[in-house]
Amino acid sequence: MNQVKSSLPTNLPEVIYTPDSHLRKPGKLIRDMFSDLAKSKELAWRLFMRNISAMYRQTMLGYFWAFLPPIATTLVWVFLNSQKIVSMGDTRIPYPVYVMIGTLLWQVFLDALNSPLRLVTSSKAMLAKVNFPREALIIAGIYEVFFNLLIRAVLFIIILICFKVAVPLTFLFAPIGILSLIMLGLMFGILLTPLGILYQDFGKGIMIITSLWFFLTPIVYPPPTSFPANMITKLNPVSPLLVTTRDWLTIGSVEHLSGFIIVTVITFILTLMGWIFYRISMPHLIARLGA
């Protein structure tokens, strides 16, 4: 049992664990982050495939579940609007299309926001026992967001055809808008994940806040222009992203571009910081939760 390999490899990778803060060595931290990101690609794909195939295998309706929320929301609002129970003002494109696209985009944001905490929570046992690159969970979540987006894109195309909406050339910018929305959701999600793992209050809070947030975002109504209602578009970071993306997809003219750029840049920076926060807190979370 104890034969020692005659030629020992001398260039073994060496890992050192100390109580020191990782932030004291930012260079190493950044290098580790990106090397783990590269290492987690394959695992992330595997976990994504696992989650997707498991999610729909034990259902009868299968992928139809991905369509259901936007369809249901749209039907409700179209009904309310058509019966004049609520009146939404001029949306410049057919109201059902307006609501449907708004809901689809909101759903993308919401998916991205919920995915880090959801995946980390469901992988607690794995995190506590195996040292795999932690980024894999986040990436797997992003893959899931894109997967759902692709499914819903089918719905989007059907809607456009049914209502004979002519798509302007600016729709080519839409992917940028969608990426920004995903990143914004991810930023909130990743910043909340460490806290949400420790305290379940955060998970419960997110549910309530996002359902209110829906109404504070110009999804089923056009962006208000008069004070104080126009604060919705000024203070809510989702508004410029969602409205701009929807405009790119449907009418071509864009009113909120400066807001869009500001939010995107801030989101990008905060997402990177969230990533560092996530990495640093992981060993502490595992120590506190055991499992």
């Binding site: 020692v4 990778p13 109580p19 932030l23 394959e42 696992r50 498991a54 026992k129 926060f277 502490h284």
Partner: protein, 393 residues
Amino acid sequence: MSDDILVKVENVSKKFCRDLKKSLWYGIKDIGSEIVGRNNHQQELRPKEFFALQDISFELKRGEVLGLLGRNGAGKTTLLKLLNGLIKPEAGQVTMRGSVGALIALGTGFNPILTGRENIYINGSVLGLSKKEIDEKFDEIVNFADLWDFIDTPVQSYSSGMHVRLGFAVATNLAPDILMIDEILAVGDAQFRNKCYNQIGKMANNAAVIFVSHNMNDIARICDKCLVLSDGLIVHNGNVEEGISKYLEDSDDGSVYDDSFEKVEYPVKTVKFEWSKLNIDYGETIELSIYIETDKEMKDIGLQIPFYDNQSMVAGEWYSKRYHKTINLNKGLNELNIKLGPLYLKKGLYKIAIILSDSMGIGFPVWSYKSHTLGVNGPAMGGWPYQIMGVVK
């Protein structure tokens, strides 16, 4: 660091908290202080905290197998988690050289709805194997687990044994420089367990191995060094035999009397035992007097005296029919004086039972389960179950 030292642990400590609310709050504070870049060397305990590990130091070279011993809660799993980088120490430093493979939990990442085939790929990825590596080893894995018939069945309909087999088969296809194994072989049937041991032996040839088990025979068989933890402290580091004996001292539950299976039935009315000694040396003899009061005459009875070790395994047994053709009991009080030994038992505390059977060996009017405790001062290893000699005077 010398070239073949793969694991180096220097003065490592780790604290945990007994109170959940406080623990979570400390978690927030620790994360916070790390975010602002403070180095988290904490030697003092905050309220409700305790040291799960304190001042642990040891080294391990390639080719060495270290047995990690300790009672439940001694800190074994915490140490493995520290070595694996899952949690951070609060003091000291851990240096790991080379790839790390941990058989700490089998089948991590398994999803019950998915098939065995799909789960092999998931589990392999979690453990760090690439798709290509899994493709190459797929047949080997299924052969080892012996699960070809069920490979396309969802894992949720596997038996727990099959589940473990599949998990182990995937895990043993790693070729790490440092291998950690945490008591996972306690499940599965005997045949599969032997297969596992062979496989671990192969993996251990070229790795530094840390092996956690409560089975002293496994430790004695596999390890060449031994670390004993007690309440987060190292109480022994080095020789395996001494380590095992240290652990046994630590984990003996002493004089807990076990009457769970005790019975005295017709025609026996009362039974009393007297032992000549509480402690003996290796190879000594011991005398036992049994007083049996019966309602009627009993011819040709059998007496059985098994010795149980601290793991409730029979370490030795005396059976009267091997040495005497007949023992008869008269109506009324009978006295039997038995001399047992020499007793070649390894060091430890033994529980002794006394069983009286009828002439056919079918009825057991007396079954005094683990009624007496005997301490043996002897070598820490060796001593398989054997037939103890003895005579009724």
